[in-house]
């Protein structure tokens, strides 16, 4: 993307509820912007729609009527792209990391990363070198590449997931409670590595967690409730 891009994420007039009619509205967001290179910490009680919002931004949940609204990514009308274009856009420009199960368990770390490069159309002989570099940034040894990913510890898996999410040099990184399966020390280590990586690569980060203590790592944090006007039943 060119330098004139200022907004990484831009949400307008979003209204969302899950498919079947009669379901309560999960999200109602009038407007929200995340600037390029900005890191945002998004928190809120369980069941209030944080993951739903991330899925909408990532395009893994499409906006069909009766849901409405527009999501623009990198100044592109992302939510109105055709599904296949959206998939391609996601592969190229968005990295996603979840709470757990980020890797295909029966593939090696190398194959997991290669698969992401393949779908992002950046797979080349250099991929392995780049992968090693990112693994290093996440404080992982090269030797991990040949290991089957379900043999890794959860902390290692989460760090590989970040390296994998960054392999296509995306502009946007979406992260959903990546630390909730980690113990305290692993959590701090992970946060430090992630934030450093994001800063160096100038990636826009949306980080979701209900653990408000993590907010200290971010320049900008907000409660989903400040954004969401939908009446969600908080659990």
């Amino acid at each position: 993307m060119h330098d004139t891009v200022v907004n990484a994420i831009e949400i307008k007039e979003l209204e969302f509820s899950y498919a079947k009619s009669g379901r309560p509205k999960v999200l109602q967001v009038d407007t929200w912007k995340v600037a390029k290179g900005q890191s945002v910490f998004l928190s809120g009680p369980s069941g209030t729609g944080k993951s739903t919002l991330l899925n909408l931004i990532g395009g893994t949940l499409p906006i069909h009527s009766p849901n409405r609204g527009e999501i623009r990514l990198l100044e592109q009308p992302f939510s109105s792209l055709s599904p296949s274009k959206r998939d391609k856009f996601r592969a190229k420009h968005i990295g996603m990391v979840f709470q757990q199960f980020n890797l295909i368990p029966y593939l090696s770390v190398e194959k997991n990363i290669e698969a992401a490069a393949y779908f992002g159309k950046t797979l080349s002989p250099d991929t392995k070198t780049i992968a090693k570099e990112y693994l290093q940034r996440m404080d992982l040894a090269d030797t991990i590449l040949s290991q089957r990913s379900d043999t890794l510890s959860v902390g290692q898996q989460q760090r590989v997931a970040v390296a994998r999410a960054l392999i296509n040099k995306p502009e946007i990184l979406i992260v959903d409670e990546p630390t909730s399966a980690l113990d305290e020390s692993a959590k701090m280590g992970f946060m430090n590595l992630l934030m450093q990586c994001v800063k160096e690569l100038n990636v826009s980060l949306v980080f979701v967690s209900h653990d408000s203590r993590l907010a200290s790592h971010f320049e900008y944090s907000l409660q989903l409730g400040q954004l969401n006007r939908a009446e969600t039943s908080e659990l």
């Binding site: 990532g58 893994t60 599904p83 709470q99 029966y106 194959k111 698969a115 992401a116 393949y118």
Partner: protein
């Protein structure tokens, strides 16, 4: 990449995959074997007689005449007179006419009375003539030429004495203990009913039905060096070869309208294919059953994949997160299905092939069944093609399930 993922995914579920593969291997193998044997049977069926343009016998069904004159199955109820045989031999356009007389048996093998012309003119397979393994055709009343199976089963050698009986039963009441026929020749295997036949001269067959007293006199005369002639009154059928096949239908009509006695002439090829249709129905049923078994095993494959989809929700979510489209997920499941069924098909074909190579010798030696081990025929490719098509259709169920799943839910890894 999809291929790599599919392969690794299957490897990670080795147990279920191997069991499913086993069932596909068995069912594909069964179908390939059935289809192969069906084609082979049809082929060897058509090989039983060749080079004979017409078979002439008393009026009966054409299948019936074919069955007893060529396959030695069933008993002829009527005969035709020797005068008719001679008249047929003199028809213009008739090259050769070999009479045969049926109805006798020797230890369960059919005894056929004929002339030594039989060994010159009878052909099987692709116009192959009969060949002697040992000895030669009979030139006397008491000579006998035996098929390879007869020789093998009874351990007869050229020069051995054999006893003939009347009627097609293993053990007959009226065994002709004193009819000293001798084996003059043993034929090479043909894979046709000839292998299970004892051939004697027409006169020899007459002699076999004489009383002991008459027989002794005959033997005596023969030892004295006297010319003996036994009148032949009737034969069962006549095999006819024509100068040119163009006149086949014309001569067939002439024989059918013969003024001498009611007779019928049949074209062996036509009668064979009519008979095959009868047998073919059973073969088709067998084929149908094999296809059903194949279908069932492929359904098992689809079930295995469908069950796995549920366990693989997270994995599919990961694929979506890294930008794989739902079509990729669909293709992944289809690739897995194809990997299983295609590799199972290849293994099945190789297994059947190996079995045939090892078994072919044994089959031909023990049962005179000639099976061509060359499996790489159109039939086999049809089967493998069929497997692919059915696999695709059936695997659509799990593949579409996975496809839809990726469309409807977000990526909440629960």
């Amino acid at each position: 990449m999809i291929f790599t993922i599919a392969l690794q995914s299957l490897k990670s579920r080795r147990g279920a995959v191997l069991l499913t593969m086993l069932s596909v291997i068995l069912s594909v193998g069964l179908l390939v074997a059935t289809e192969h044997i069906r084609l082979q049977a049809k082929d060897s069926f058509g090989r039983t007689i060749s080079g004979t343009d017409l078979i002439v016998g008393p009026r009966t069904g054409q299948t019936n005449l074919l069955l007893y004159s060529v396959f030695r199955v069933g008993n002829p109820t009527n005969n035709i007179s020797w005068a008719s045989v001679e008249s047929i031999q003199n028809y213009p356009g008739v090259n050769w006419a070999v009479p045969i007389s049926l109805g006798d048996s020797h230890k369960g093998f059919a005894v056929v009375g004929t002339t030594s012309d039989y060994f010159r003119f009878f052909q099987y397979g692709n116009k192959q003539a009969l060949q002697f393994k040992e000895g030669q055709a009979f030139d006397s009343v008491f000579g006998a030429v035996i098929g390879s199976d007869v020789a093998k089963t009874m351990r007869y050698k050229v020069g051995d004495e054999i006893v003939l009986s009347h009627g097609m039963a293993e053990v007959s009441f009226k065994t002709h203990q004193h009819s000293p026929f001798r084996v003059t020749g043993i034929l090479l295997p043909t894979g046709t009913p000839v292998d299970k036949t004892v051939h004697v001269s027409l006169q020899g067959l007459e002699a076999a039905h004489m009383s002991q007293h008459q027989l002794h006199e005959l033997e005596h005369d023969l030892q004295e060096g006297e010319e003996i002639t036994l009148p032949i009154e009737q034969v069962t059928a006549v095999l006819v070869g024509l100068d040119s096949p163009i006149r086949t239908l014309q001569i067939q009509r002439q024989i059918n309208q013969s003024a001498l006695e009611p007779m019928m002439a049949i074209l062996p090829g036509v009668a064979l294919s009519e008979l095959w249709q009868l047998v073919g129905n059973i073969e088709n049923l067998l084929l149908l059953i094999s296809v059903m078994i194949l279908f069932a095993s492929l359904l098992g494959l689809a079930t295995m994949l469908l069950t796995s989809i549920r366990e693989r929700r997270r994995e599919i979510a990961v694929l979506r997160a890294i930008g794989a489209s739902p079509v990729v997920v669909f293709l992944l499941i289809q690739t897995e299905a194809f990997l299983i069924s295609v590799s199972a098909s290849i293994i099945a074909v190789l297994l059947v092939w190996g079995t045939l190579i090892i078994g072919a010798n044994w089959l031909s030696e023990e049962y005179g069944l000639f099976v061509d081990a060359n499996l790489f025929t159109l039939g086999t490719f049809t089967v493998v093609g069929l497997v692919c098509v059915i696999t695709f259709i059936i695997a659509c169920v799990p593949a579409i399930t996975a496809y839809k799943q990726t469309l409807q839910q977000g990526l909440n890894a629960r």
